[in-house]
């Protein structure tokens, strides 16, 4: 998995903005109260590589515990990777100097799942949205105020909302505020961690459409963390499917949904709910649950749940195979 080198020259012309190579994050498991002793490692992320291209959206899907949120945290510099590199415009960021790290932090912003806990209830909207600009940009009061007004308009609110507090807004509106705040420093990449799953159904489409409009307007790239496959299909250009800290399949959205190849990807698609009662689904319900990342299975990590399991799956780690340019899968079947 560490040697993963997708090379989709034929299809893409957009430059690579952000690139992860063999990213790993292992958390120590300690024992003992005063003298703590490391008794094991939780391999939350274990060698993932992907690219975020300018103006495009990469989706990372997987079940809880697959490492998708830890990956996002490493990209946001909230966690130091154990191994591997993150390059932003060709520059490795975790070893960069303070100035470069600062610039990176303002170019990569985040929108989180729960707009009830991600906005400070004691700050007025004006200050909430201006806060990243105060830290990162050198603007006058007047300019700042104009920017806040424009951002509020861009996310579908109006400038008079600037005087209100977060509790005066509904869930969908709060998520709009969080988006405005992320956009305020004109980032190149926004990490969206389950941006619509806490919202009402009728509001989700509003926010998804807003995000896609803003992507065109601000030419920003998204890294979308999601568990809902249909959302990923709607919003993403590229999809990475993660299982137990590794990427098992990676490709362009259309290619991946039309020719899902890894048994886990297939199982995820079969388990997803149909959009019409007449859609007959193949019965491919996975047995068991995701094993603990403390002690992941030998060989292919999916083999204890895989319906196509073969002898070699429990022994050898599968190699990365490129099925089509840019569509890669790591499975012994190919």
């Amino acid at each position: 998995m560490t040697t993963l080198e997708a090379n989709p020259v034929t299809q893409t012309t957009n430059e690579v903005l952000l690139e992860a190579n063999g990213l790993k994050k292992h958390f120590p498991v300690t024992k003992g109260l005063l003298v703590s002793k490391v008794t094991g490692w939780i391999k939350a992320v274990d060698g993932v590589s992907f690219q975020v291209r300018a103006g495009e959206t990469l989706g990372i899907v997987g079940e809880s515990g697959c490492g998708k949120s830890t990956t996002a945290k490493m990209l946001l510099m909230l966690e130091e990777p154990t191994e591997g590199t993150i390059e932003y415009q060709g520059q490795e960021i975790h070893n960069a100097n303070a100035e470069q790290r600062r610039a990176y932090r303002s170019s990569v912003q985040a929108v989180f799942q729960d707009p009830w806990s991600s906005l400070n209830p004691r700050m007025r909207v004006r200050d909430l949205i201006a806060e990243p600009m105060v830290i990162n940009l050198n603007l006058s009061r007047r300019e700042m105020q104009d920017r806040v007004g424009k951002l509020l308009n861009d996310v579908g609110l109006s400038s008079y909302h600037a005087n209100l507090y977060p509790h005066e807004f509904s869930g969908g509106q709060r998520q709009r505020l969080a988006i405005a705040r992320a956009l305020s420093v004109e980032p190149r990449v926004i990490v969206l961690d389950e941006p619509v799953s806490a919202l009402d159904v009728s509001i989700r489409a509003q926010i998804m459409n807003l995000l896609m409009d803003l992507q065109n307007e601000y030419n920003v790239s998204y890294l979308l963390i999601a568990h809902h496959l249909a959302t990923v299909r709607y919003m993403c250009d590229w999809v990475a499917v993660m299982y137990l800290g590794q990427i098992v399949e990676y490709g362009r959205t259309k290619e991946l949904f039309d020719n899902a190849s890894h048994p886990y990807t297939k199982a995820l698609m079969n388990a997803a709910l149909p959009s019409h009662p007449d859609i007959e689904q193949e019965e491919m319900i996975l047995t068991g649950e995701v094993p603990s990342p403390l002690n992941p299975p030998e060989g292919c990590r999916f083999h204890p749940r895989c319906p196509f399991v073969m002898d070699q799956c429990s022994r050898d780690i599968p190699q990365v195979t490129e099925l089509e340019p840019g569509h890669i899968v790591s499975c012994h079947l190919y």
Binding site: V201, S275, I285
Partner: protein, 330 residues
Amino acid sequence: MTTSTTENTSPVVLQVDGLKTYFETRWGTVKAVDGVSFNLRRGETLGIVGESGSGKSVTMLSLMRLIPEPPGRIVDGQILLEGQDLVQMTDKEMSGIRGSQIALIIQDPMTSLNPVFSIGNQVGEAIKIHQDIPKRTVVQQVLDVLRKVNIPAAETRVRDYPHQMSGGMRQRVVGAIGISCEPIVLIADEPTTSLDVTIQAQYLKLLKELQEASNIGLIFITHDFGIVAKMCDRVAVMYAGRIVEMGDVRDIFNNPSHPYTEALLASVPKLEEDVDRLYSIEGQPPTLHDLPTGCPFAPRCQYVMDKCQTTYPTQFDVSDSHYAACWRLE
């Protein structure tokens, strides 16, 4: 439009007529459920779909007679469970029925299980309350019901505490409590929202098997049309405390007749096909203490007419088994 092929002619077990549940608050009376009627047959699955504030959960709590009183009160209507009116029952009579004839599976297994009692204790509690049987038989029944919900190694897991189990297993335990006294009506309130997709698929399959095995009338409270498509025979769509459309699941998906249903279905991304742009419903769901006169969906409706602003629409039949409350059908 396809006609429903599985016409269910089993007897009606639950009949709800003109149910009204109001809450007195300092902002005035909140009509959380305002005249809801439906019926449920044995072995049938009814989906109640709605957003937060639509009244679906208050409907569920009213059926269980679990409305906190005050501030809430069932002000009108009947809930007939095999002919007995639950609304008229005393608290004591209701305790005998709640959990044994009509049972509930709640959303969040982390908060609905007590962390300081073992699984066996909690499943056994319901059995002990409703059946006068010796302790040894209770233990046996607990094991039986845990096996029914496919908990592996039930003999050892019965001594586990909730924190020792995974989310999927905990949800199964909550399911086991629900079916432990063989209810005739089971209400599942968003039972899979906290589960992962592959675990959700396992759980939905299990619920279906349990329903078929005991011919339970199942009510699914959800906001997810995917669950409705997979599980339900009939659907009631709720908005602002009332049922705005009701019909067989295929009628609802093929011929949504209320603009709200139509818009909701169009705003959900599809797994099976590429959609260029989703339809998005403007505005927010209404707040219940300040409902507009006329149709509460009118401010967000793309087909809004003058009449909608002034008068609440009556129900119009689309077909024998399908109605919607919208003036466009007049």
